[in-house]
Structure formats: C-alpha cells, structure tokens
C-alpha cells in the first residue's frame, strides 16, 4: 500500500544521539560523507565502520531498523557491485560468458558497496534521531548565512515542513482517487506504456486540483494566523549548543585527524 512508504522516518527516543543539536548532526554527516569518498584503505574504512557502529549503539535505534533502511536501495547496491566487478580492467581470475571478473574489480565493488551502505546508514541515523521539524529548523539556521546571496532560507525550511506535513495526506488522497476511478472502470495497471500514461490522467488531474485547493486553504489559514514570512518570527524550541555537542565535536575532530593520519601514511 502507498501509505506504507515512510519518508524521513523518525524513531522517537531520548538517547545521547537524539539529544545532540541537529546542526551538529548535519555538519558531522556532511564531514563524514566527504571523508568516506576521500579515504580508500581498509584501515580507514574500518575506523569509519567502527565509529558508525558505536553511533548506532549510542542512538539505541534497533539494529533491525538500521538494516531495513538499506532495503529500498538494495538494487542500486547490487547494480553498482555488478558493474564494478565486470568492468574494472585488471588481472582476470574468472570468466563468465564474455565478461571477466578481475581481482581489482572485486576490490572496487567491495569498496563501492561499503561506501554506499555507510552513506545510507549514516543519513538514516540522522533522520531516525532527529524529528522532521527540528531538522528543518536546523537547515534554516545553517542556511541563514547564505541569505546574503539571496537564498530564501526561511521559505525553503517552511516548504519542507509543509511538504512533510502533507505527504501522508496526499498519499491517502491518491489511494482514494485511484479506487474511485477504478470503480468507474479505469485501468492503471495494464496495456502499453502510452496507454498507461494516458490512463494516469484520471488520477493526476484530480490529484493536482486537490493539491492546489489544499494549498489555497492552507495559505488562507496561515494568513489568518498572522503568518508573514520569517521576519520577526520567534520559535518555541530554540536550538542551543550544549556541552554534549562540544564533546561530540571533539570526537568528530579526533576521528577526522585519525583518518588524515592514516591517509598521510598511506594505510
């Protein structure tokens, strides 16, 4: 069912990782992603994997949920692995039909899949431990310096909040309209591609109309509640950096220095 999809799922909790300032978490994630793409030795990956594992344990998010987060992207991982195994030039160790498997290919495939898995796990850890609203708050704060260059930081964050709020509502609506048109004999699942695309019109038109109507209603409701953009706006929950965040920052820096040292020594 469509409503089973969960985007940016949040796992409520009060662990150390949950309590960290979201800005800290976003910055750390960005640094880690960069690091993952720079390093290329087993030692360095080992270190990052160890760090990730410790973070998962500290977050108290069940291991099953973490593993499940990889599931939707499983196909991409397999695809990358296959491409690398078969297309990396080098010393062939086996042959399948006209394709040859090389030692380098296997290494490259392993490297890429670990990179991808780490990427997915670390990003989901961010959404698991940070509620959507604090996440958008943090993004707004982090983007504020770019306002000088004309970046609408507040508007972007507000758009994200509203999108998160309305995704479930619109999914529900999609399902209802689909059923209603099916009851009138519409067919969404058979025939040629052209026929299928044409068949989507009875679904898409009502859906767009409904989304616009909702947007209209919401705009009026927001105006009635004195919304006038980001100027002079206060927040109920103020983000603040605490000693936990400083400690986490120190750990992050130590990790990065560690990775740098490994890189310099070619390990």
């Amino acid at each position: 069912m469509l409503t089973d999809i969960t985007i940016g799922q949040y796992f409520p909790g009060n662990s150390l990782v949950h309590r960290l300032d979201p800005r800290m978490k976003i910055m750390s994630l960005l640094l880690l992603i960069t690091a993952i793409f720079i390093v290329n030795t087993p030692m360095a990956y080992g270190l990052i994997c160890f760090f990730t594992l410790v973070t998962i344990l500290l977050s108290k998010v069940p291991m099953m949920m973490v593993i499940k987060s990889i599931k939707p992207l499983w196909w991409i991982i397999i695809f990358t692995v296959l491409i690398h195994i078969f297309t990396t030039p080098g010393e062939a160790i086996a042959k399948v039909w006209i394709l040859s498997i090389t030692q380098e290919g296997i290494q490259q495939a392993a490297l890429m899949s670990i990179r991808l898995i780490l990427l997915i796990i670390l990003s989901s850890l961010l959404t698991f431990t940070t509620s959507p609203i604090t996440l958008t708050d943090a993004l707004e704060k982090l983007l504020t310096p770019f306002k000088k260059f004309g970046l609408p930081a507040h508007e972007l964050a507000m758009m994200m909040t509203i999108a998160l709020r309305f995704i479930p509502t619109l999914l529900e609506e999609t399902e209802r309209i689909m059923k209603a048109q099916e009851a009138r004999g519409a067919d969404f699942s058979s025939g040629s591609i052209v026929k299928r695309v044409k068949g989507m019109i009875p679904l898409l038109v009502p859906l767009f109309i409904s989304a616009f109507r909702r947007a209209d209603d919401l705009a009026v409701a927001m105006e009635a509640r004195c919304y006038r953009g980001g100027e002079n706006r206060t927040r109920m929950k103020v983000l603040c950096i605490t000693s936990v965040d400083y400690k986490a920052g120190i750990v992050m820096i130590a990790l990065l220095i560690g990775l740098f040292v490994l890189k310099v020594h070619g390990l």
Partner: protein, 279 residues
Amino acid sequence: MNQLIKVENLQYIYNENMANEFIALHDLNLTIHEGEFVAIIGTNGSGKSTLAKHFNALLLPTSGSCIIDGIETNSSDKLWAIRQKVGMVFQNPDNQIVATLVEEDIAFGPENLGVPSDEIKSRVDNALRAVGMEEYRKHAPHLLSGGQKQRVAIAGALAMQTKCLVLDEPTAMLDPQGRLEVLETVKNLHKRLGITIVYITHFMEEAVEADRVIVMKNGSVLDDGAPRAIFTQVKKLKELGLDVPLAAQVAYQLRKTGIKLPADIITDEELVVALCQSF
C-alpha cells in the same frame, strides 16, 4: 458591553468589474458584542463565509466598513493586531494544520507574532488544556480524528490569545462524535474563558446552543434574534431551505391541527411538558 465587531453598510463584490462579477454581501449591518455566542445560519451561497472572512481581515469591504475592537480592517498597518484578536477555524480540518506535530502547530501563531520562546511554551500548554488535548501534544496531526484536528485548530487560535473565535462550518466534515466534541469545546471556551464565539453551521441542533442566531439570505441579514424567536418561525425557515429543530416542527404541525400549545417550543423537553399539560 463592548462592541467587538461592528459592520456598517458592508458590501462585498467578487471579481469586481469583470464579466463574472458577483455581489456576495449587500449593504449589511451587524454588531456583535464582547462575550456573545452568535450562530450564523443560511443556505450555501448566502454569504456566511464571505462575512466571516471580513471579521479577520482576510477580505476587505468593497464599500462600507468592518470595525474589529475599534480598528477598521481597511487600515493595513493594523492587520496583525486584528488577526490576533479574531481567530479563525475553517471547514476542512486537514487543510489548516501546518506543522508535523500537534504542539508545533499550536505554537505556529504565537511564533508568527514574535512571542518569546518561554511564553510560547506556556501558551501552548494552556491552549492544549483548554481544548482537552494535552495527551496528544506529541502526535502527528494526520493520525488524529476529525474532531481532534478541529480542536487542535481551535487551540492554535487560543494560543494567539484571541478575544473572538470565528468558526466557519467547523463540523460540516465531521461525524456525530466529532461534532459533539467541537461543540462542547466551543461552549466550554465561551463559558469558562468568556471568548466571543461566531459559529457558522448548517446543523440546527448546534445553532440552538447559541445566545443569538443570525439568519442570512442572498448576502444580507434576514433575521436576528434569540434561538427561541428564530426557530419557532418554522414556515419561514422551511421556505429558506433550512432545517428546524424537530420539537419546533412537531409543535408547529400540532398547532395547525388545532391543538393548543405555547408558541415558543424548541426542545423535546418543552414539547413533552406542554403536551402533558394539554391532556
């Protein structure tokens, strides 16, 4: 009593000077005092919603004036003061909740007003308590029932410390349970906190609860009085296409057959008592 809403010779025209011009409100005069509970009834297209949007300066008069607590809605620099005084609750419970958490949504209004963080927290607490939704503060709005969503919307207005709540058919999309919840909440706010209520509805059993009922037709006020005075005019309301409370209708029909009954019956209780006395 202080005049909270004063409407004078109000006219409102949609799409003025265009082919599809439509006069929604004609030369309307109306005064609502602080602390009143007013119900507005009328068929679709009678101008109820258009009028309600004037109370919050979402629409501005084409001609005439609308004065809220001494401020003309036309004076654009006072717009936010007016909207803070008059909170709105709309028909569709899904389309007025902004945030992904109940408490965040209630905080939305005060945040826009620039209220300091600590005060927002206490206002949110109070608003949640006033509508009886404390235990749902961390819930996602889309998982609540219709009645609960409307109570969240009401709390959102309360958190702005509004003097007046304008509810535009808040129960039209709800089930009987949800309708009852919303009506009880509104009655409670009127009684306990003295908030002025303007309640637009199609359901006569809800309008009966008000102190004063305004009947609208074709963009003007047709009738204005206590529920008892309005709902005993069975014939007139039926002709307008409106419902009447059952007891009023039965009493009206009994009177037509020659049975002597008092002219002001609107509840079952009153009808039973009157009938028992007549035999």
